[in-house]
Subunit: 323 residues, 2 copies
C-alpha cells in the first residue's frame, strides 16, 4: 500500500513515519511507498521503502491535487496551524486548517469522480473542539462548542470528513487527540506547555515552571499512544462508525499533583524539587476552560487503547526520548 | 436602524419583511431603511420606509461586500440552497450554504477591521443539523451529526457564527428552525412536504397524499412563529449566550395522527376524508432519520415562544393564508 503523510515533519508525524518504516506494514498490508509532505520538506529516514519528500502548503490551489495524484491508499492528515498561532493569525488559521483540509477532501473527491478512488483518510482532530462549560466527564454525544478558532476549524474538519465519507468520496476517520505528554523537545509558549515541562525538565536536571494549581486536571496521551491511535484508525472497519466519523480518543485523566507524584516515583524528590510554582492567572484562566476527562466509550469499544496511567506516560518518555 | 434581509424572496423572508414593514420598528427601534436581497430581485412591498431590492448571489466574490457596504445594523441571513437540492448538487450546496455564508461573515469582519462595525446577525440554521440515532427528546447539549450535506453546511455555519462572534467581529444569533407547517403554496417535492400537504390541501377541498404511518412524530413551527423567532433573535441580549450562539427553537411535537385530529377539529370529517394513504418506503426511511422532539430549554429561557399546539398551527394557516 502507498501512504501519504501530510504534516510529516511535526512531532507526531515523525514518530508515525518512524513506526511505519519499522513495521514495514500497516494492518498487515505491506507498505510499498511513502510520501512525506509538510510546509518545509520533511527529512526522509533511511529505509528500504521508497520515500518521496515534498514541501507542500495545502492552502495553495493545486497542491492537494498533486498530493493525491499518485492515489495513496492511506492518507494521514496531521497538518495544522496550532492553537496559539491560529488565534493570533485569524486568516492563516482558516487558510491552513479549514481551506487546506477542504482542498484535500475536495482533491480526493475529484479523483473519486474520475476513477472511483476512495482512500482511507485519517484526520487528526483535537479535544479543542470542546469548550466549557461541560460535565465532569464528557461523553461521546456532547456537543462541540470550541472556544478557539483552532477548535472551530477542527470541528468544521470533522463535519466535512463525515459528509465526504457519507457521500462515499473517501473513507474517513477523525480522531480527537488528548493533550500529548510528555512532549519532547524545548519548552514552547503553548499555554499547555507546562503539563509536559514539569516532568520533562526535572528528568534532565532542569528547573520547570508550574503556573497553575496542583488540583488542575486534564486529559493526556503519550506520543506513543497517539501513534497507536493513528495506526488503529487507519485499519479499523469503518462500518460501525456510521455517519459519526470522529471519535474522542481514550486518555489518562490526571491532576498536576498526580503528574508530580508520577515524576517522584520515576526520579525521586530531587527531581520534584526542580518544579518552581509561579502562578500565572492568564494561563490558569485559559486552562480552566479545557476539558478534564472524557468517557471515550465509542473509541474504547472500537479497540483504541490509552496509556495505563501517568506513570506509564513518564516511563514512555524516559524509554523513547532519554534512552 | 437599517436592516438587510438576505433571502428576502423566500416564504419566511417575505413574511418577515411584511411584519417589519407593518411594525415599522424592531425591538422598539425605528426602521429607517431596508435592503432586500435574493438570487432573484425580491419585490418591494409598498411602504413609507425606503426599500432597496437587490439581486445577489452570495457565492460570487464581492457580493457580500457590497451588501454590507451600507453598514446595516441588523442582518437576517436566510438564504440557502434547500436540503434536497444541496444533496442533489454537492457543489452548489457548498457554494451557497458554506462559501456564501462565510463570505458574508468575512465581509462583516473586513468592515469591522476598518471602522469597528459589529452588526447583529441572525442566521437561520435548521434541525437538519441533527441526525439519528438520538434520544426521544433532544437536549441543548446534544451533538450535531447531520445526515445531509445541507445539515452539514448549516452546522458549519453555526460554528463560524460562534467563532466570528467570539472574536467580536459580529454579534451573531443562530436559530435552528423546526419544520415549518403549514407551508403555504403548492405541494413541492421535499420529503417533508406531506406534513403541510395533509392539512393545506384538504382545507381547500383538494386530496392530499400521506406517505408515512400515522404514528410518525415530528417538530413543527408555524410561519408566524418562525417570524417571531427571527425578530426575537434580532433583539435579545446576547451576553447570556456566551460562546454558544445557536439555539434550537421551541416547537410543537406532533404525530401525523395529531395533525389529522387538529384538521378534523378545524374542518370536519369531510376534510379528513381527503387524505389518501399511499405508503412510500423511500419517504418513510428518510423521515425515520429525522428528530421527533426537542427540549429547547435555552431558547425558552431566553423568551422564544412556540405555537401552543397543532390546532394553533392550523388556525394560523387559516387566518394568514385563507383569510
Amino acid at each position: 500500500m502507498k501512504i501519504l503523510v501530510i504534516g510529516a515533519a511535526g512531532m507526531i508525524g515523525r514518530k508515525l513515519v518512524k513506526r511505519i518504516l519499522a513495521d514495514e506494514a500497516v494492518g498487515g498490508r505491506q507498505v510499498t511507498a511513502m510520501t512525506l509532505a509538510d510546509v518545509v520538506t520533511p527529512s526522509a529516514p533511511a529505509s528500504a521503502i521508497p520515500i518521496d519528500t515534498v514541501a507542500a502548503d495545502l492552502s495553495h490551489a493545486g497542491v492537494a491535487e498533486s498530493l493525491v495524484a499518485g492515489r495513496p491508499d492511506l492518507i494521514f492528515h496531521l497538518a495544522a496551524i496550532v492553537s496559539g498561532e491560529a488565534e493570533a493569525d485569524f486568516d492563516k488559521g482558516y487558510a491552513i486548517n479549514l481551506d487546506g483540509t477542504r482542498y484535500l477532501f475536495e482533491a480526493v473527491r475529484q479523483a473519486h469522480l474520475v476513477d472511483g478512488y476512495t482512500p482511507r483518510l485519517v484526520f487528526t482532530s483535537s479535544i479543542a473542539v470542546f469548550g466549557a462549560p461541560f460535565p465532569a466527564e464528557i461523553g461521546d454525544e456532547f456537543h462541540l462548542t470550541p472556544l478557539t478558532s483552532y477548535g472551530t476549524q477542527k470541528a468544521i474538519g470533522e463535519l466535512l470528513l463525515a459528509d465526504y465519507s457519507r457521500r462515499g468520496f473517501l473513507d474517513g476517520v477523525g480522531i480527537r487527540l488528548p493533550t500529548i505528554a510528555i512532549r519532547p523537545g524545548k519548552p514552547n509558549k503553548a499555554a499547555s506547555g507546562f503539563f509536559s515541562g514539569i516532568v520533562r525538565e526535572p528528568l534532565v536536571g532542569v528547573e520547570a515552571m508550574l503556573p497553575v494549581a496542583d488540583t488542575v486536571r486534564h486529559w493526556f496521551a503519550s506520543p506513543r499512544a497517539a501513534v497507536g491511535f493513528l495506526l488503529h484508525a487507519a485499519t479499523i472497519d469503518t462500518a460501525p462508525l456510521g455517519a459519526r466519523r470522529s471519535l474522542t480518543m481514550p486518555g489518562v485523566a490526571a491532576t498536576v499533583a498526580e503528574e508530580i507524584e508520577a515524576l517522584r516515583r520515576a526520579a525521586g524528590d530531587r527531581a520534584v524539587a526542580l518544579i518552581r510554582r509561579e502562578p500565572d492567572e492568564t494561563i490558569a484562566r485559559i486552562v480552566a476552560g479545557w476539558p478534564q476527562a472524557f468517557a471515550a466509550d465509542r473509541a474504547v469499544a472500537l479497540g483504541f487503547t490509552a496509556d495505563k496511567d501517568f506513570d506509564e506516560i513518564v516511563s514512555i518518555h524516559i524509554a523513547d526520548e532519554l534512552g
